[in-house]
């Protein structure tokens, strides 16, 4: 007999079951290329095979239902994946979002516009069609009168104007949007964040690798640390990119702090030169070995609107990891850490990033602001413009991007 009491009990039980096992989110993946170890593959696969998270193999409550892949080289894996995991590949972005029908038929979109064969412009930027892919999604959202959360891997676009219009569209159509690098959400050595509201006197990041993939990662890593300062991020006033011996000269002249550089390098597990030869630790700044190790250094100077000066040094030949240092008012020693890029092929840091995306798909709220990536996209573009304009200092009034850091730290702590 169904009494009021048993009814309430069964309703409560159903409620619990429902909360735990809501309908899987229907996910569309839009990517440039899906080959082994492309971002499309290692991020896309997380939604198919699950991923390690907080000491368990986590299966997202999501089902990839459709995929668009812009390029299918010989080593393409997308067709195998579609067969094995039962989703459709469509020839256009619109069809992918509508799953071949006439209305938006997915709950979330993952745009992974990294890797693949795309031209570079005169600034050395690879012209990945992130904006173009995103814009096709937005057109579907507008036409079909419904918008769903979008994740955009890495920077928004090589062009700030395009990047800005992407963020504007998400505001206009009220869909949550997340973007950027894995570095802000990977493990840190040591595991800490700067205290919210702290006064940062100067910040410095050391990275390595090519432009414009790796300098972007380094800028995002630095930005996720310094956005926690003062009353929040207020944007960038001017940038300058210098190269070659001018970088060492700038260090001598105090344009960036050699103490911070030494602190950042003290976090590296991969110093090259003598450490590569016989594994001895090195005090690279004091020993003055950097000029011999780094034939073509680059310094990205960033002047923030609130007066903060930050520098990214790309030191190919000196190290192979990404390290941050800052001087914080009231703290005697520099605060520094390594952003741990875990080894290939697992690249478990991409699981950290996909978990943040999953959080957004579940809650319809981005765990950290997309404005961070809007700003880093713009900083990078302007720095590369400075590079081709005789390394000139460029005013950047368009980079008045203001936002607040997330209330909670976003790196793995459990």
């Amino acid at each position: 007999m169904l009494t009021r009491r048993t009814f309430l009990q069964s309703a409560a039980a159903t409620g619990v079951a429902f909360a735990q096992r809501s309908e899987p989110k229907r996910l569309a993946i839009i990517t440039t290329v899906y080959r082994y170890l492309s971002h499309g593959q290692h991020m896309g696969d997380r939604w198919l095979t699950g991923y390690p998270f907080e000491g368990a193999w986590h299966k997202p409550n999501a089902k990839v239902v459709s995929l668009y892949v812009d390029q299918t080289p010989e080593n393409d894996l997308s067709r195998d994946r579609a067969r094995e995991f039962g989703f459709q590949i469509y020839p256009t972005v619109a069809e992918t979002l509508r799953c071949g029908g006439d209305k938006l038929a997915v709950d979330a979109v993952l745009i992974i516009g990294e890797h693949g064969d795309y031209p570079r412009n005169e600034k050395g930027q690879i012209l990945y069609p992130r904006y173009e892919l995103f814009d096709q999604c937005v057109k579907v959202f507008e036409k079909d009168g419904r918008a769903v959360p979008v994740f955009n891997d890495k920077h928004l676009s090589y062009s700030f104007v395009k990047a800005k219009s992407m963020v504007d569209a998400s505001r206009r159509l009220h869909f949550p949007m997340l973007a950027g690098s894995s570095l802000p959400v990977t493990w840190r050595l040591p595991a800490f964040d700067l205290p919210p509201g702290c006064h940062i006197e100067e910040a410095l990041m050391v990275g390595e690798g090519g432009s414009d993939p790796m300098d972007f990662h380094a800028l995002e890593a630095m930005q996720c640390m310094i956005e926690r300062r003062g009353h929040g991020e207020t944007g960038v006033k001017a940038v300058q990119l210098i190269e070659g011996d001018a970088v060492w000269k700038a260090g001598e002249e105090g344009k960036y702090s050699k103490e911070l550089l030494a602190s950042a390098l003290s976090r590296s597990d991969t110093p090259l030169g003598l450490s590569f030869d016989d594994s001895r630790p090195q005090d690279m700044v004091r020993d003055g070995v950097l000029p011999q190790l780094v034939p073509n250094p680059a310094a990205y100077f960033i002047e923030y609107r609130d007066g903060l000066k930050a520098t990214l040094l790309m030191l190919n030949g000196a190290l192979r990891d990404f390290n941050f240092a800052a001087r914080v008012r009231g703290v005697k020693a520099p605060q520094s850490l390594q952003f741990l890029l875990t080894p290939e092929p697992n690249v478990t840091y991409s699981a950290c990033l996909m978990h943040k995306v999953e959080e957004m798909f579940e809650s319809r709220k981005a765990p950290y602001p997309v404005e961070r990536t809007l700003l880093t996209s713009g900083i990078l573009e302007s720095c590369l413009t400075s590079k081709v304009q005789g390394h000139a200092r460029l005013e950047t009034p368009h980079l008045n991007v203001a936002y607040n850091a997330p209330a909670t730290s976003q790196y793995p702590q459990a």
């Binding site: 493990w187 030494a262 991969t270 630790p281």
Partner: protein, 400 residues
């Protein structure tokens, strides 16, 4: 005990080549190392070095001595400690008995002369009527009786004695510590490497966490080892909790992809059996009932991962003891930095920063595990491992 403002340290090593433990440790005293956000230079001088085996083709000790003239090479351990005189002339000793060409016994143990070196060190102490702190890299001796003697001698002469692996003191991903007094029912390390080598690191990984359980360490009652088919049968029979094994594996950054074309998939037991050619398990029980399992699964992963069942916690407690390994991934074995830092603290204060009893126990466990393997997986009682001690209040792993 009188500790000078700038202690003099002697290092005693089996051999010294690129990536040898001696190179990692001695270089940190000589050249400093990244620590706490600066290039830290130890407030002490490594003034003497004894190297047992010098291979002219690979040796780096002579280059180090030439570049750091304050460090002299001596042909005997006694001279390294007396600086060529007739009395102890240093304030601390680092003993590094890892690597080098030493015989293996029938059980597969490499007979590194740690005890023999230690005896020569304490001989100088006795003759000089003065003892100084000793740091012993890795386990105490492959031979349990000798290991026990090393411990007993340190107590008899009353000098500070530290030993062990870098696993207990390195970074963790995530950076977490077991709450003191937790009720740990089961603990496990899933790692890689060989017997009488990395098994010790796996055991130290387990012990540095489980010693924090309620009541502290009570010693170990028995141990049983599994290898080859016996390992797979034990896994399938649930001899150790599958849930803990999976949790530990989910902390790995290096799982071998079990399927071509996939970079990070969770392996089935069949996958594991295909990938791991020579699996080894040591299962043992502490006197208070806590059970532990150390799994060597070379071929499946290349890192050290820990998981435990703790009363009152629904999910396993797990982390990775992170080794930035110079096997192509890094150039520095930075996990030696916290090890050297802890040794430095002992040399400056005369007090160990964590109990040597931990390593006495893991030394005995390593030898007992090897013995059980030698006896084809026989379950062995270990009354000699009734070693009780309390953990440090403060965590000693790298966090800053």
């Amino acid at each position: 005990m009188n500790i000078p403002a700038r202690p003099k340290i002697a290092a005693v090593a089996t051999t010294f080549f690129k990536y040898s433990h001696a190179q990692h440790i001695v270089d940190r005293f000589l050249d400093g190392y990244g620590w706490n956000g600066v290039h830290h230079r130890p407030a002490m001088d490594l003034v003497s070095l004894y190297v047992d085996q010098v291979d002219p083709k690979t040796d780096l000790s002579r280059e180090r001595a030439a570049r750091h003239p304050q460090m002299k090479l001596f042909p005997t351990i006694a001279e390294a400690l007396t600086l060529g005189g007739n009395r102890l002339a240093v304030d601390g000793v680092v003993l590094i008995g890892e690597h080098g060409k030493y015989a293996r016994n029938e059980k597969g143990q490499t007979k590194y002369p740690r005890w023999e070196f230690f005896e020569q060190i304490v001989d100088v102490f006795r003759k000089s009527g003065r003892s100084v702190p000793v740091f012993n890299d890795k386990h105490l001796s492959w031979n349990w009786e000798w290991a026990r003697k090393m411990y007993d001698t340190s107590r008899e002469l009353g000098f500070a004695f530290m030993a062990g692996s870098s696993l207990p003191v390195t970074w963790r991903t995530p950076s977490v510590e077991m709450a003191l007094g937790s009720r740990v029912r089961e603990a496990m390390c899933v790692c890689y490497g060989g017997v009488d080598s990395y098994d010790f690191h796996g055991l130290e990984t387990i012990q540095c966490i489980t010693e924090r359980r309620r009541g502290g360490e009570t010693g170990v009652k028995w141990i049983q080892a599994y290898r080859g088919p016996a390992f797979w049968n034990a896994l399938r029979d649930g001899v150790w909790p599958r849930e803990l094994m999976e949790s530990a594996l989910c902390r790995s950054h290096t799982l071998t992809p079990a399927r071509p074309g996939f970079n990070d998939v969770f392996p089935t037991v069949d996958d594991m059996q295909r990938l791991v050619k020579d699996p080894v398990a040591y299962r043992y029980e502490h006197a208070d009932g806590t059970k532990c399992t150390m799994l060597l699964m070379s071929g499946l992963l290349r890192d050290f991962n820990f998981a435990a069942q703790v009363d009152g916690q629904r999910k396993p407690w797990s982390t990775q003891m992170y080794l930035p390994m110079p096997d192509g991934r890094t150039t520095l074995a930075s996990f030696f930095s916290p090890l050297v830092y802890n040794a430095e603290k002992m040399f400056l204060t005369g007090k160990p920063t964590y109990p040597v009893e931990r390593t006495l126990l893991t030394t005995g466990l390593t030898a007992a595990g090897v013995e059980s393997l030698y006896r084809k997986g026989e379950k062995l009682d270990t009354p000699h491992l009734a070693i009780r001690y309390q953990p440090t209040q403060e965590s000693t792993f790298e966090r800053s």
